[in-house]
Amino acid sequence: MEEHNIFSLIADNLSQFYEYTGFANATFGHILMILIGLAFVYLAIKKEWEPMLLVPIGFGIIIGNIPLFPGLSVGVYEEGSVLNILYQGVQQGYYPPLIFLGIGAMTDFSALISNPKLMLIGAAAQFGIFGAYGIALALGFTPAEAGAIGIIGGADGPTAIFLSSRLAPDLVGAIAVSAYSYMALVPVIQPPIMRLLTTKKERLIKMKSPRAVSKKEKIMFPIIGFLLTAFIVPSGLPLLGMLFFGNLLKESGVTRRLAETARGPLIDTVTILIGLTVGCSTQADKFLQWTSIKIFILGFLSFVIATAAGVLFVKFFNLFLKKGNKINPLIGNAGVSAVPDSARISNNIGLEYDKTNYLLMHAMGPNVAGVIGSAVAAGILLGFLS
């Protein structure tokens, strides 16, 4: 009798333990999300598509979708769990400004300073954000949600996370995954649009070499740039402040150690945390919804609109420029941030048509202007919609 009781007790314990395992709690949604996570990891490792982001996000998706018995304080949405504490950086918006600090410390604005009219391309490409905003409204999203979705068109992951955490916290996971996915797909999305909207003659335009920029100009840029943009859009302060501060650390020449930390260990640490926790936040029950699919479609549209707006704006701008000063419209796509991938696309497409036409340096101008433009746009949306 005693022996039977021990066995039944062990069996009960094992049965109870089974209830806690992932096998007992798994749903179709969990398995699907784990497969998506594995696909991200595969694309990052095999195809090298934005590996720095897709590996943490992909593995985060896998972590976040391990079927859990609720109430163990383990899941990302369970208060007090380690993942939940790390996720606060996304929810409260701590991580994106820190990433902007690193971006500022690694960005060379020389191309933009030497040819400042390229800034306007960075402004034009932000049209993708507001185009997607209008479509999202038409699809029934609230203005705050539409603004958070539209920012995907800025092609700037940290900005998208920052804005969505403020305007539509429930959509952060879908928006962040969508933004980073399309940033990884820039080499696939942009070239057909660029070819479609330009003529062969335009693609062959050779631009003047950028002039050398003095150290004084490089130091003045972050200070003047910050004061101006922050006074116009104070709501963009966390992003703009950190971006320009990081750049000042780089250009001042007297804070080399701080700049190296900002563009090295700091940004790496925050990238790991932001990627992993954003991935974790895509739990099947919250992520696998029609809303997420709509967000992915809208994100794609905003990328397409932004790219087209950048290219078309250059063509329009060329109407007012003298013959020797024309801009190659192939750098218009670089107005969406996605630094430096979109600039690299401009260069590659340019070389396809003329082996001697290197557009990389020219494309870096609108590319970094796009970072400023998307931060300004995020500030405007935050000001209007929060």
Partner: protein, 307 residues
């Protein structure tokens, strides 16, 4: 150098003079009720006059250690006890004090009654700085009718009563003015259902910001180019002068220079190729204690042999 430091120190001290701990200066007397016969009642079930404070800031303010008084000659009449978690007033929130002259009943029961007072003063924790004050006009004080700021936290702080009015209904611990519940976002949806106005406005702002930046840096760039051009011209002029002098140099001078150089080489055994080596081997750097890991690690304890 020392003078600079002193100036910075004085600047910092001057700037800090206007600061109050935890922004006590953001607190306002917001509403009060003198005669309470049929209004809000305290935790003891008693009806008494009350004073409402409002935190106008966007940060939490602890009013513990500050003072409430009805006597300008005695600014420290009632000290709000320190260490009570409830004295921390959250951003844009209210806290209520019962003017029942029964301070033994807890933090929020003060030691005077409003029926016997002509003025209410809220004083900072230094016991000297009057943060806010308001006169009590007994001629208009009716039972269960409160006097408060028309818009929460807005109006005078000098006791003149500007921005204050008799309230239509009492609102202890809540806003005096009921805010429109509709968010900016929802208002915008009604006004601009397709986002066209938003797109035009926002794109205009983005363009304006970057156009100004463009114009500024175009101007700065032009200045820089001009400066560079001027410097180049100066160098060119100097070179011209040097060339001019060079032309005037006589053959004897050339001979003297050549001889001097020859003698210099002979004496010092100078050679045309320096002793530099181009290599792909890792170069050895001079040792520096700053880069030494030995100084950053704990030393391994040495085993001492006993004799």
């Amino acid at each position: 150098m020392k003078i600079h430091k002193i100036i910075i120190l004085i600047g910092c001290l001057t700037a800090s003079l206007g600061l109050h701990a935890q922004n006590i200066s953001d607190m306002r007397l917001n509403e009060f009720l003198v005669i309470n016969t049929d209004d809000f009642e305290d935790d003891y079930g008693h009806k008494n006059g009350w004073i409402e404070l409002f935190n106008t800031s966007y940060g939490t303010v602890d009013v513990g250690g500050c003072f409430l008084t009805n006597d300008p000659g005695n600014l420290t009449k009632y000290m709000i006890p320190k260490g009570d978690v409830l004295t921390k007033v959250k951003p844009r929130q209210h806290t209520l004090f019962w003017a029942d002259n029964l301070p033994d009943r807890g933090t929020f029961h003060i030691n005077f009654r409003l029926e016997d007072s002509d003025e209410i003063l809220f004083v900072s924790s230094d016991g000297r700085t009057i943060v806010d004050r308001i006169k009590i006009d007994h001629s208009i004080a009716s039972p269960n009718v409160s006097y408060g700021r028309t818009n929460d936290g807005i109006g005078s702080t000098d006791g003149s009563g500007e921005g204050w009015e008799i309230m239509k209904k009492t609102s202890p611990s809540t806003n005096n003015v009921i805010l429109d519940g509709e968010s900016n976002s929802m208002k915008l949806k009604k006004l601009d259902p397709y986002g066209i106005i938003m797109a035009i406005t926002a794109m205009s702002v983005v363009f304006v910001a970057l156009i100004i930046l463009y114009l500024l840096f175009k101007w700065i760039g032009n200045l820089s180019i001009k400066k560079h051009q001027k410097r180049s011209d100066d160098v060119a002029k100097q070179n011209d002068k040097a060339e001019h002098k060079f032309e005037e140099t006589s053959a004897e001078a050339y001979a003297a220079i050549a001889l001097a150089l020859h003698l210099y080489r002979e004496e010092t055994e100078l050679h045309d190729v320096e002793n530099t080596i181009l290599t792909i081997e890792k170069s050895k750097k001079a040792y520096s204690p700053w880069s030494s890991k030995i100084y950053m690690l704990r030393e391994t304890p040495q085993l001492r042999k006993r004799n």
